[in-house]
C-alpha cells in the first residue's frame, strides 16, 4: 500500500468531493432543468441547401401564437447569415435551425444560452424565449475566412 500524509488525505477527499458535486450539478442542470447543449437534429446536403428545402428560403415562420421557428443559412465569401435581420414579438419562444452552405461557422446569440457550432451537413437546433424587448446580436464564432469578423446579424424583440 502507499503511504499518504494526513493532510494529503484531506486534500484528496476534498478534491473528489468538489469534482463530484460539479459533475452532478451540471448534469442536473442539463438533463433535469433544461439548460441543455445542442443534440443531433438532422443531416442535410450542404451543396443543395441553398436550392431546396427549408434552408433555401430561410427566415421566420410562425407556428402558433408566441411560437416561432427561424431557419438560418450561414455562408462564407461573402460572409453572411441569411437572414441577418430577424424580428419577433416579446414573449416569443423561438427555435433556431442553422446550417452552413460551405465551411464551418458558429452561431452565438447574445444574452441567451444559444451557442452552437454550425457545420456543413448538419442542422444545429437551439431554442430560447425572449421576454425582454431589445436588439440582440447573433455573431459567427468560428473562423470561416478573411471576412469572419463581418459576419453577424440582429434579432429585434418588440
Amino acid at each position: 500500500m502507499i503511504q499518504v500524509h494526513q493532510y494529503e488525505k484531506w486534500w484528496i477527499g476534498l478534491s473528489i468531493a468538489v469534482l463530484a458535486v460539479i459533475s452532478i450539478t451540471v448534469g442536473v442542470a442539463g438533463f433535469m432543468l433544461g439548460v441543455q447543449v445542442p443534440v443531433p437534429e438532422a443531416l442535410v446536403n450542404p451543396n443543395t441547401v441553398a436550392q431546396s428545402g427549408n434552408f433555401s428560403n430561410p427566415g421566420v415562420r410562425q407556428l402558433a401564437p408566441k411560437k416561432y421557428e427561424v431557419y438560418v443559412r450561414a455562408e462564407a465569401n461573402p460572409w453572411k447569415f441569411r437572414p441577418d435581420k430577424i424580428e419577433i414579438p416579446v414573449g416569443s419562444t423561438v427555435t433556431f435551425y442553422v446550417t452552413s452552405a460551405d465551411v464551418q461557422h458558429g452561431f452565438k446569440l447574445e444574452g441567451t444560452n444559444i451557442n452552437v457550432q454550425v457545420l456543413p451537413g448538419q442542422v444545429s437546433k437551439m431554442t430560447a424565449t425572449f421576454n425582454q424587448p431589445g436588439t440582440y446580436d447573433f455573431v459567427c464564432t468560428e473562423y470561416c475566412g478573411v471576412g469572419h469578423q463581418n459576419m453577424f446579424g440582429t434579432l429585434t424583440v418588440k
Binding site: M1, I2, S15, I16, L19, I22, P40, L43, P120, Q122
Partner: protein
C-alpha cells in the same frame, strides 16, 4: 569523451528549432494584440508577404502551440530518459532520424503557411482546405515525434534487461508515460489526415465530412494539451524540488498522477465539442464527467508540488505558515520562471473547470475566454516552465554560464505581469460575447458593445509587455550561447522525501494500458461508429482567406 555527448547534441538541435519556433511565432503576438486595440498593422505588412490577420494567427498557433512544444518536448525527454537511466540511447540514429523527419515535415508545412496557402488556423477544420503537402508536413512532424518516443522506449527496454526487477527512475518513468500517451492519442489526428484529409486535398475524393473530421481532431486535441503539460509536470515533480533546496514530497502519488493522466487524457475530447450539432447529449456528458476526473491528478500535483516547495523553503530556513515562501530561491531564474508559471497555471486550471462544465460552457464556448484560458495553460504554465528549464538546460548542453541572471528573472516577472493583463482582457471579452480568433478591432465596429473597449486595450498592452519578455529571453539566450565564461551545470534531480518502495501496481504498465484502451473504446467507440455509419462525402474544399 564527454558523458552523454550524443544525447546532449540531439537535445540541443531539438531545443534550437524549438526556440526559433517560439521566437518567430511570438513575433505575431503583438500584431494580434494591436489589432484588438484597433491598430491593424497587417495591411502595412503585405509588402513583406503577410496577407492577413488570420495568416499571422495561423503562424502564431502552429509555431507556438505545435512546433515549439513538440520539438522542445522530444529533445528534453530524450535527454532526461538517457540521463535518468544513466545509459546512452540504444539507437541514437533513431533519434537523429526522428529529428530529420520532424524538420522535413516542418519545412513542408512552413512553405504554404508563409505563402498564405494554408491560413486554416492550427485546428485546420475541414472543409477549409490547404495544399496536401501542408497536411503531409504536419503528419511527418507527428511521425518524427513517434520515432523519438520509440528511441526512448528501446533505451528503456535495454535498461530493463540489465536491471531486472528494478523500479524505473521517476524521470524516465514519467517521460515514457508522456510519449506513450502521445503515441495512443495521435491515432485520432493521424486517421483524420491519412484517411479523410489527404485523399480529399489530393482530389482523389470529392468531399469530406466536417463532423467526423472534427471528432477525430479532438480525439488528439485534448490529450495534446497533456503532451504539452506532462513535461512541465516532470520538471515540477522531478527537478524543481531539488532546485528549491528540498525533496519530492510523495513519489508514490507523483507516479499515480502520471498513470491517471495516461488513463484519463484521451476519452474526454468531446468537451471541445459540447456545442457540436452531430453528437448526442449523453456522450457529451460522459466526456464532461471524465474531464472532471482528469482534474484529479492535477489536484494531486498541486498538493504534492507545493508541499515539495515548502520542504525546500523550510530546509532553507523558512518559518511560519507561509513565510517559507520568502526563503525559496527567487534569485534563481529557472526556479522563478517555473514557479510563476505554476501560479498562472493554477488560474488556468480554475477557468478550465468552467470550460469543462458541460452546460455552463455554453457561456464561454468559442468566445475570447478560450484563448484567454489557453494562454494561461499552454501559453504560460507550459511555455514559461520550458523557458525556466532552458535557463539550466542551455548551460548544461553548451557548457556556457547563463548570461544575465537578473535579466532572466526580469523576463519571468515581465511575462507574469503581461500575461495577467493580457489574459484577463481576453477572459472579460469572452464573457461580453466576443468570439475567439476574430479581428475584434473590426468586429467591434460591426457589433459588440462599448464595454469591449477596455479589455481590448488590455489585450494590446498585455501583448506588448509579453513581447518585451520574449525579447529579454532572446537576449539572455544569445548572450549565453556566446558567453566566454564556462560553467558545468548538472541536471537537477529531486530525491524523494521518504525512501518509498514503489508498489507493483504503480510499476506495471499492463493494467494501466489495458484500462486506457478500454476507456477509449467505451468513450469513443459508439460515437465513431455512429459518425462513420452516417458519413457524408459532401463538402468540397474551400479557400476563403485570400
Amino acid at each position: 569523451m564527454n558523458a552523454f555527448a550524443v544525447e546532449k547534441k540531439i537535445a540541443g538541435w531539438h531545443v534550437l528549432v524549438a526556440i526559433l519556433a517560439l521566437v518567430v511565432g511570438t513575433l505575431f503576438g503583438p500584431l494580434q494584440g494591436l489589432e484588438h486595440m484597433g491598430i491593424n498593422l497587417y495591411p502595412a505588412l503585405q509588402s513583406v508577404g503577410l496577407q492577413s490577420y488570420y495568416q499571422g494567427l495561423t503562424l502564431h498557433g502552429v509555431l507556438n502551440a505545435l512546433v515549439w512544444t513538440t520539438f522542445f518536448i522530444t529533445g528534453f525527454l530524450t535527454l532526461i530518459v538517457a540521463k535518468s537511466l544513466n545509459r546512452g540511447l540504444a539507437f541514437p540514429k533513431l533519434s537523429w532520424a526522428a529529428f530529420s523527419v520532424m524538420v522535413v515535415g516542418l519545412l513542408m508545412a512552413a512553405v504554404p503557411l508563409l505563402l498564405n496557402l494554408a491560413s486554416v488556423l492550427y485546428t485546420m477544420y475541414p472543409p477549409l482546405q490547404a495544399p496536401w503537402y501542408y497536411y503531409l508536413g504536419l503528419t511527418l512532424v507527428v511521425v518524427g515525434s513517434w520515432m523519438s518516443g520509440w528511441s526512448m522506449l528501446t533505451t528503456w527496454w535495454a535498461w530493463r534487461k540489465d536491471n531486472k526487477g528494478a523500479t524505473t527512475p521517476f524521470l524516465a518513468f514519467a517521460s515514457l508515460i508522456t510519449m506513450v500517451l502521445w503515441q495512443i492519442c495521435t491515432l485520432g489526428i493521424a486517421s483524420e489526415i491519412l484517411v479523410l484529409i489527404l485523399p480529399w486535398s489530393l482530389g482523389l475524393v470529392g468531399g469530406i465530412d466536417a463532423q467526423l473530421s472534427r471528432t477525430l481532431f479532438w480525439f488528439t486535441g485534448h490529450p495534446l494539451v497533456y503532451f504539452w503539460l506532462l513535461p512541465a509536470y516532470i520538471s515540477w515533480y522531478g527537478m524543481m524540488p531539488k532546485q528549491a533546496g528540498g525533496k519530492l514530497f510523495s513519489e508514490q502519488l507523483a507516479r499515480l498522477a502520471f498513470w491517471l493522466f495516461l488513463l484519463l487524457s484521451t476519452p474526454i475530447g468531446l468537451h471541445h465539442q459540447f456545442v457540436d450539432p452531430g453528437l448526442s447529449a449523453g456522450w457529451k456528458y460522459v466526456h464532461a464527467v471524465l474531464t472532471f476526473a482528469v482534474f484529479f491528478p492535477s489536484l494531486l500535483t498541486a498538493f504534492n508540488v507545493i508541499a515539495s516547495l515548502e520542504n525546500g523553503g523550510r530546509a532553507r530556513g523558512g518559518k511560519g505558515l507561509l513565510m517559507w515562501i520568502r526563503n525559496l530561491p527567487w534569485n534563481e531564474p529557472s526556479f522563478t520562471a517555473q514557479t510563476l508559471a505554476m501560479i498562472i497555471f493554477a488560474f488556468g486550471g480554475i477557468g478550465g473547470m468552467v470550460n469543462a462544465s458541460y452546460d455552463v460552457n455554453l457561456v464561454v464556448h468559442n468566445t475570447a475566454w478560450i484563448p484567454g484560458h489557453f494562454h494561461l495553460t499552454v501559453g504560460s504554465g507550459v511555455t514559461l516552465t520550458f523557458i525556466g528549464v532552458l535557463y539550466w538546460l542551455v548551460p548544461h548542453l553548451t557548457g556556457k554560464k547563463l548570461w544575465g541572471a537578473k535579466a532572466a528573472i526580469a523576463q519571468a516577472w515581465v511575462w507574469f505581469v503581461g500575461m495577467i493583463i493580457f489574459s484577463n482582457g481576453l477572459h472579460r471579452l469572452g464573457l461580453l460575447d466576443a468570439p475567439r480568433r476574430t479581428m475584434l478591432g473590426v468586429a467591434n465596429d460591426n457589433y459588440g458593445a462599448a464595454d469591449w473597449l477596455f479589455p481590448r486595450l488590455q489585450v494590446g498592452i498585455g501583448g506588448m509587455i509579453l513581447f518585451v519578455s520574449v525579447l529579454l529571453f532572446v537576449v539572455v539566450m544569445l548572450k549565453t550561447v556566446l558567453n566566454k565564461q564556462t560553467e558545468t551545470v548538472e541536471m537537477p534531480v529531486a530525491e524523494p522525501l521518504h525512501q518509498e518502495t514503489i508498489p507493483a501496481w504503480l510499476n506495471n504498465w499492463q493494467p494501466w494500458l489495458v484500462g486506457t484502451v478500454v476507456l477509449i473504446l467505451v468513450a469513443y467507440g459508439p460515437i465513431l461508429i455512429q459518425l462513420i455509419s452516417q458519413i457524408q462525402f459532401f463538402s468540397p474544399g474551400f479557400v476563403v482567406w485570400k
